[in-house]
Amino acid sequence: MRTSFEALVLSILLGITLAISLTVGPLVTGQAPDVTAKYVAGNLVQDAQTAMKDVAVEYKTGLTAQQIVYPLSDPGSAEISYNVMHNGTHIAFYIKWKDETKDMPIGDVIDQFPDAVAIQFPVFKGELPYVCMGNTQNPVNIVMWKSNTGAEALVSASAYGRGQVQREALQMFESRTRPIHTAPPEDQIWYSDAYYDNGEWMVVLIRPLGSTSPLTPSLEPGSTTSIVFAVWDGAKDERGGLKKTSGWLTVELEQAAAPAEATTQTVTQTSTVTVTAPGKGGVPGWFVEFAVVIIVLLALAVVYLLARKG
């Protein structure tokens, strides 16, 4: 009798711990995020030229040349500065990096490559795959901006481009496992704008926080996600695996100031999307977290008392 009661207590405790880690992950683990996506009320800056002068790029991250899988890059490094913010309905990435040449092949050009930048997200919360392109258990969602064609969402589910030796070992000559796909139309949710000036790119990438597609992770205020940045320099014929990448970075989205209300915000000049924007007032995020912790502690105390009685 006592044993089964203990088992019940244990499972309740486990359930509570899980609830804590799901609701207030950062609080409990105490892991400081690498990046905080600040909450800002109102519209996010969409124009890259304005962003170049008005948006402070608070974070800096070093990128190193991809050296693991074919095609191997030349050794090298780069640095991006960026800022991430959200307004309760949309999240914006402002990414700035130096590139001496503006590579933007347009028209009948067949031997040149565009400058590009990408942000990669895990599709599922959980174990993070190797920084490049995910694997079959842990697919990744990528937004890739190219100077000549703009932003495109991709989904990738396997480390790609194994070297010849690996390919021979895996007998992959005929393998039709396609590691990367252009995401379906419902996942093409990114807005982009770019500006190049004085040897520097500023790329603005904005998407709605919510997503109904299983291939695009929803980003919620108060939660964390992980990202990897990559940049390509067209002048160096960089494309595909010839790139520079960061490691995984954790991004925490600040709590929105208020519960969201449905409203309409024009995100691009050509298309209008219906989104939810925060209302005024409401309960702040820290209060919710605090309340959850109190409830959990109370529950623990009750369980303990019951156990002693039994």
Partner: protein
Amino acid sequence: MVMVLDKCIGCHTCSLACKNVWTDREGQEYAWWNNVETRPGVGYPKTWENQDKYGGGWVLEDDKLRLRLEKDKHYKPPSLNDYYNPFDYDYEQLFTQEILDQQPSADPLDMYSREKIDIKWGPNWDDDLAGADVIAPHDPNWNGIDKQIYLNFKDVFMFYLPRICNHCLNMACAPACPRKAVYKRPEDGIVLIDQNSCRGYRFCGIACPYKKIYYNWKTGKSEKCIFCFPRVETGQPPACTLSCVGKIRYVGVVLYDETRVPEAAKAPEDQLVKAHRELILDPFDPQVIKEARDAGVPENFIKAAQESPVYYMFKKWELALPLHPEFRTLPMVFYVPPLNPVITVLDRNNKYSADYNSIIPAIDKLRIPIRYLANMFAAGNEEEVRKSLKRLLAIREFFRRIEVEGQSKAEAAAVLSEHGLTVNDADMMYRWLALGRNRWVIPTSKKELRVTLTRRGKGPGMGGRQRG
């Protein structure tokens, strides 16, 4: 596919048929999935055979095949300068010019900007504007030849070389693609690029030693010859083959041993043609038929393999040769080398004629140096070229003995047996090569019967079928 080069008249009908069907659209103006170049010459794109420049094909190192591109990633994809600046003409001018004594003319226009341009190069410039003395020395096939001799007036030679994607057995394009967008269809061996997966990286285009992949600047993806698969699936030949004026193109299926492909691709250079031939299986061998059936190869394919002109010309008669086998991709388009002009001699009656008794022994005195053909079609192995040319001559000699000298078939057959051929072979060759009958034997595909390619290195069996 087999192309019999003696019969190509360089009319470019094949290229135009292909262009009209597949590439007459924005982004592919410069692309000729089928092109015809003139040799000696530099081809299209310029000097494409020079892999030091373009980085295509495989390199054998310590018994391992590696893509040249993988060894050195700094190779660039070819530019429009390497191909040519595509142009059109201002046809309006033909109607608006004032009436003069001369014919009206139309100015060339850049196909992209529509502005007037000065044409400096074209997809078969070597032929269109001659100038072989300037261009031909840059042909990469002169290795081991005193090219000056052949650039002299009177000693000069030429032939046409039509080219499509070779739908190689050991293609270099597919493994070079990190996105695995390039693949070989197991049911018929056609090599395709999945337009949904291609990301326009152009590694395939660099890796293809034949430069038969064309980047489409409009779609941002690479494209290539699709062997007219929608036609082929219904038993019809590709557009280039159907339209070929010289009737030089032959299409058929062959059965081959997929598991031995890597081994064949690693053969020593002078053995590459032989190793390639050994991959092709005898479609009459009961064991081969059984294995083909077990692997799911449909009956109509087995029957077609038994009637395949590709099987006979490449495997059985050893007339046809692969283009640049040293690139180690095991290309599946084969060429019957040109039996260039037979040098005439003053005969007994003081007339210039071909002294036929000496033709076969004097094969090395033909106008096109054997070495040149061997560099192009046999990785330098001259014996492969000699064997093919001798057999072609033996057939002519056989019919000459019957028609001109009145010998019986049995008497004339001596010249055939001397070169390993039979009267039946000669009759078949005559029907195919001279009359051009049944140039394609194409079984219709049934989707529900599709087989899968055996993974390389695993187990025995038939890897599938390959259109030649």
